[in-house]
């Protein structure tokens, strides 16, 4: 097999991969290739036909396909090489990438690798719902793909488990297409998606949302016939006597997304137990030199705009890496307090200003974010309406650091 040399191999042609490719090209890195598993570029945006994308990146509201096309137009304008229907099967620590394609096995030797594989949906198996195993249970993204890309309707009467944004968007989509959506159930005491989606996807169509509720049984032979729903207590255990049965032929799961890092593991990239994405420094570089990650493969985002912007920042770092501008070593770790879900990047040098991304664990009308080092508060930021659904970013100037000791990010409800 002929091994081709490339400056950068971009794995995945979704929003992160596309933005990274365009930015690399703008920085003068020309010998690059995007490897995309699907038949078309665009990733999950292809099936997100609703609008609301692009307000931050383009200052206007776009649908998913329109947002993706902005980047695909640039890919074509700049003549950036991409190969669709090419599935990467292995990345080695010395940056040999092997992919299966329509033209057989492809092998590349890369100076740098960009991981932009996105994320996967959690499934019924991941949350362990008891009951029989009939047809009619779909993750929200799969249902979205059937309806929006393949012109296939998935059922007549549906319930939705999980209040993630895609679940709520599917509640509206199904309703518009004539499906009776009976309710959305959320095991947590608060919704996991954005308030605007509760308003425009559920309230607009009188779809009730029950928090602190979960599905405790699934019935049906062949096809789903009903689900049993119960209220849960503070430990999220079902409360006996609160069970209610909902007749339905379809259940949609919107119960979380997990960064897709099987390939990252093959090349020795270490993952964060909180984000399930790579541990990275302020340059989005993983522990394997020359391997970078951005977008949902790194941390699950709520807005695609942030995915694109993160990928662009990463691409700038990749260009610097290739130009051998040299990065200062990143030995200062940033860790989340119990009140914070995760913090990214996990390592910084302390020599340049960085932006940290994180999420609070619980909603708070008013909350204060404290960045601590050596037991002292080095940055304070007040946040209104902090929600686990909204990623928060905080500016961390190098001048505020007192030492090279560990930094902690903490959220306190006011």
């Amino acid at each position: 097999m002929n091994t081709m040399d490339k400056d950068v191999i971009i794995i995945g042609g979704g929003p992160a991969g596309l933005a990274a490719a365009v930015e690399l090209k703008k920085r003068g890195i020309h010998n690059i290739v995007i490897l995309e598993r699907e038949k078309y570029l665009g990733g999950i945006l292809r099936q997100c036909i609703h609008d609301g994308f692009g307000l931050k990146r383009f200052k206007e509201t776009l649908t998913g396909p329109e947002y993706a096309q902005r980047f695909i137009d640039d890919i074509q304008k700049f003549n950036i090489l991409y190969i669709t229907e090419a599935t990467v099967i292995e990345i080695t620590p010395d940056k040999i990438v092997t992919a299966v394609s329509r033209n057989g096995l492809l092998q590349y030797r890369a100076k740098a690798i960009v991981l932009t594989m996105g994320c996967r949906e959690r499934t019924r198996g991941a949350i362990g719902i008891p009951g029989s195993r009939p047809a009619g249970i779909y993750t929200a993204g799969v249902a979205q793909s059937f309806i929006n890309l393949h012109n296939m309707m998935i059922g007549k009467e549906a319930v939705i488990l999980g209040s993630g944004d895609i679940g709520m968007i599917m509640a509206r989509r199904l309703t518009l297409e004539g499906v009776k959506v009976k309710a959305v159930f959320e095991v947590m005491p608060y919704p996991s998606g954005l308030p605007r989606n509760i308003e425009q996807c559920l309230n607009d169509y009188n779809i009730p949302l029950y928090v602190s509720h979960t599905v405790t049984n699934i019935k049906g032979r062949g096809r789903l016939e009903s689900v049993t729903v119960a209220q849960v207590d503070e430990q999220m255990n079902a409360i006996a006597g609160t069970e209610k049965e909902y007749k339905c032929d379809t259940m949609i799961l919107s119960v979380g997304l997990i960064p897709e890092n099987e390939l990252s593991l093959t090349c020795g990239v270490n993952l964060d137990k909180h984000t399930k994405g790579a541990l990275v420094d302020e340059h989005y570089q993983t522990n394997v030199p020359g391997i970078f990650a951005a977008g949902n493969v790194l941390q699950v985002h709520d807005l695609v705009d942030f995915v694109s912007m993160e990928a662009e920042h990463m691409a700038d770092s990749v260009a610097s890496y290739l130009y051998q501008e040299g990065f200062p070593p990143s030995h200062i770790s940033i860790i989340p307090d119990d009140s914070v879900g995760y913090v990214l990047p996990q390592y910084i040098s302390g020599e340049i200003d960085v932006v940290c991304s994180f999420r609070v664990k619980k909603p708070a009308k008013k909350c204060a974010i404290y960045v601590l080092q050596d037991g002292k508060v080095i940055i304070t930021k007040k946040i209104k309406n902090a929600l686990p659904a909204k990623m928060i970013q905080i500016h961390l100037p190098a001048a505020n650091l007192n030492s090279t000791n560990e930094i902690k990010v903490k959220a306190v409800e006011l």
Binding site: R46, I49, H50, D51, G52, L55, T63, G64, P65, E66, Q69, N148, L149, H150, N151, L176, E177, L194, P195, R196, I198, E199, Q200, N203, D204, D302, L303, N385, K390
Partner: protein, 120 residues
């Protein structure tokens, strides 16, 4: 009297409070931009929504083209508009931005393709 709204204009999802007396709208609080104020005032008078859906494509490389309304329509007209769109078929090629249905149901809103579908 007051009424509360969750703004749907952007992901900030501002909680907006509108004070009113009969038909007169008074102060609007909680919006972090002018679009939010406008949204809340509209919600008091006549809620409008933009919808996105898909239209069947004949002889296309894919079976559907995604579409959007280019201006909002009255909320209560959503299902009528959906019913009308459902019966429409277009023939490939369809170009992103192309008007599929002009002035749908006389509501001064066009149904516009949001992606390009090439001919087989």
């Amino acid at each position: 009297m007051k009424k509360n709204f969750t703004c749907i204009i952007c992901p900030n999802s501002c909680d907006i409070e509108v004070m009113f007396e009969g038909n007169a709208i008074g102060t609007v609080n909680g919006a972090s931009c002018s679009k939010g104020i406008e949204y809340a005032k509209n919600e008091m008078v006549h809620p409008m929504r933009t919808i996105t859906t898909s239209v069947f494509v004949q002889q296309g490389i894919v079976p559907l083209v995604s579409v959007k309304l280019d201006t909002p329509i009255p909320k209560e007209k959503i299902f009528e508009v959906m019913k009308f769109i459902r019966d429409i078929k277009v023939t490939a090629p369809v170009i992103s931005g192309q008007i599929i249905i002009a002035n749908i149901l006389g509501l001064k809103s066009n149904v516009v393709a949001t992606k390009t579908v090439e001919k087989v």
